[in-house]
């Protein structure tokens, strides 16, 4: 079993609104995030992503369940691992009247990191020139970058980004995506939450999908697609006729699409490769169609809403 960066079992949180109504935000969440790489934490708005993240960070109390971060019980042993965890929850929050640099200096001082790190992380997030401006005057993209700079002060092994691209323009979204991919490639673990699947699937190695505070599905992107019923896979193979026959015989729906075949109902995409290889037909390309991951997501989360 690979090392887990995050693991939760039976995690639960009920909010009480001002009027005394109870809102179950998270109900028995079992989440496993493998160490290393980017993990997408997906779910529609209000599905409990932020609440789960706040519980992991000790910002709010769980009503029930257990959580570990790098094997340490949270929140009891959080002080032992917090130095390895950088997090941005919802929108970046700093002291508006202080400069970006001052905000980082205070944080650096609090954790005993030398001052020069502040300059380094500002440089890394392309904020060096605006470090002397007040946080209040920053654009949303700059605020987000400052928040990332703050998490980098610790040189963390685990980064938690809660909907980091909310409100950003396409260039900003791309920048954040590249940053996350880069961090993942360095061997760090990135947990990124989003309600837009398309935003995460390009960078995520693995994903978890939640709805109404429960885990619906998790695994690699391919696995999650395979688990859904509405799977479409684009297949490139030499002999279209033979391949269509073989796959149709296995109960799959096959359509031609230019030089490709579009295959539905394959279960695991690997199943297609296996069946064809058995008849000495070799697949040169096998791509899950993007729209289908979206439909898996919608399907899974729609079921929950009934």
């Amino acid at each position: 079993m690979p090392e887990l960066a995050i693991s939760t079992r039976g995690l639960r949180k009920t909010y009480r609104t001002r009027l005394g109504r109870k809102v179950v935000a998270v109900q028995g969440l079992d989440l496993d995030v493998p160490a290393g790489g980017v993990h997408g934490f997906l779910g529609p708005n209000g599905s409990g992503k932020t609440t789960s993240i706040r519980m992991l960070l000790g910002l709010i109390r769980a009503d029930a369940g257990t959580m570990t971060v790098f094997g340490r019980r949270v929140p009891a042993q959080l002080p032992e691992v917090v130095g390895r965890v950088g997090a941005i929850v919802e929108s970046p929050k700093f002291f508006p009247a202080f400069t970006g640099e001052k905000n980082l200096q205070l944080l650096a001082e609090a954790i005993g990191v030398p001052r020069r790190r502040v300059g380094e992380v500002l440089e890394q997030t392309s904020l060096a020139e605006r470090g002397d401006d007040r946080f209040r005057s920053y654009s949303l993209g700059m605020k987000q970058r400052l928040a990332i700079a703050a998490t980098l002060l610790k040189e963390p092994d685990l980064l938690i980004f809660d909907e980091p691209t909310n409100g950003l323009d396409p260039a900003g979204i791309r920048e954040i995506r590249e940053t996350m991919r880069g961090l993942g490639n360095q061997g760090r673990t990135v947990l990124v939450s989003s309600h837009i699947l398309a935003e995460v699937e390009q960078v995520a190695d693995t994903v978890s999908i939640i709805g109404h505070g429960r885990l619906l599905s998790s695994g690699t992107v391919a696995e999650v697609i395979g688990g859904g019923t509405a799977t479409t896979v684009k297949v490139a193979v030499d002999n279209h006729e033979a391949a269509t026959r073989i796959l149709a015989a296995a109960g799959m729906a096959v359509r031609a699409d230019g030089n490709y075949l579009l295959v539905d109902g394959a279960g695991q995409p690997a199943e297609i490769t296996r069946r064809l290889a058995h008849q000495e037909l070799y697949v040169s390309e096998l791509v899950p169609v993007r729209a289908d991951l979206e439909s898996v997501f919608l399907e899974l989360t729609a079921e929950e809403k009934i």
């Binding site: 917090v82 929050k93 609090a110």
Partner: protein, 330 residues
């Protein structure tokens, strides 16, 4: 904890609110010195001449009449029923002296204690305000959530904030009190009298100033607690004002027996080293009437110190319990 407190001190010093507060305090101190200077300034030539002629008239009257007046009074005194009042009390006609007319000279030993008491209220208010805004700002901006991802041990976070507020305001109080005492001394030394400033007077002044410093630090920490509880500076100030007006002023006046349980009187007992207050004592008289008397009572320094100490501990512990359990949702 030391490191966290140092960081919080850096933040306190870097805040614009703190700078504005300190500058404001110093300006008010200078205004007080200016007022003292106006008070102590000798009166104008016109006023002096008027006082002189008043004196001359009074003296002439005394020269002309004091022998006859005294004799008449003595006669009256003989006729008084026993027990007679003292003859000196009833029939003394002292010669008027020039210094009894016109403006009395400023005396440092008499002036300074009241100034110190007044300024201690001001310091307490400023410290409360700065402490409340120092902590509340973190909650209203949401920066506390980010802070806790760097230091999740809440009690340390809490302690370091209150400690920084308290420590940070000590030098402010020392400077304000120092400027006030030294400034007043220099002014009065020039224009009035500092001759009666004995070692005991200095000792009392120093003790009062010391107590004012302690209260300033306490005010800053308690401001921090209230700021944490209410999360907004305006709410903290609103609560403090509302409490002072409704409970301390209105309720305290309507029911003056509760005064010794209110903050203001205990504060006064602490800073003045004992204080007095009045209560109405009413009782039925033997002839069926109902009589009320205003009676002077004393609230001791020790009582004030205990009261403030216990109040501070209760508030700090309550704030710690709330923060320890609080969900940080913004």
């Amino acid at each position: 904890m030391v490191r966290l407190t140092t960081v919080e001190l850096h933040r306190l010093v870097a805040r614009r609110m703190t700078v504005i507060g300190v500058v404001g305090l110093l300006l008010i101190t200078l205004l007080l010195l200016f007022a003292t200077w106006l008070e102590a300034r000798p009166s104008s030539a016109v006023e002096q001449r008027a006082a002189q002629s008043q004196y001359e008239i009074a003296h002439q009257q005394w020269v002309d009449g004091h022998v006859a007046n005294e004799a008449a009074c003595n006669e009256q005194w003989e006729k008084q029923p026993d027990p007679k009042p003292k003859r000196e009390d009833m029939c003394s006609y002292p010669e008027p002296r020039p210094e009894e007319f016109g403006k009395p000279p400023a005396v440092f030993a008499e002036l300074m204690p009241d100034l110190l008491h007044g300024v201690s209220y001001l310091l307490l208010f400023a410290a409360f305000l700065l402490g409340a805004s120092f902590v509340a700002a973190e909650f209203s901006t949401g920066a506390i959530g980010n802070w806790l991802t760097f230091e999740p041990r809440r009690l340390r976070v809490y302690g370091s904030k209150l400690l920084a507020a308290a420590i940070g305001l000590v030098p402010v109080a020392v400077v304000v009190l120092g400027v006030l005492v030294v400034g007043t001394y220099l002014i009065v030394d020039q224009l009035g009298s500092t001759a009666t400033t004995t070692g005991k007077v200095w000792g009392d002044l120093l003790a009062t100033a010391g107590r004012a410093v302690v209260l300033t630090a306490l005010g800053a920490a308690l401001g921090g607690v209230i700021g944490l509880l209410l999360r907004h500076t305006a709410a903290a100030i609103g609560l403090a004002m509302g409490y002072l007006v409704l409970v301390e002023a209105i309720f305290g006046n309507l029911l003056n027996k509760v005064q010794p349980w209110l903050v203001r009187l205990n504060f006064e007992a602490f800073i003045r080293h004992d204080t007095t207050y009045y209560v109405n004592q009413c009782s039925s008289t033997s002839d069926g009437g109902y009589l009320c008397n205003s009676v002077v009572k004393t609230l001791t320094f020790e009582r004030g110190a205990w009261y403030l100490g216990i109040l501070a501990v209760v508030l700090v512990v309550f704030g710690a319990a709330v923060f320890h359990r609080r969900d940080i949702n913004s």
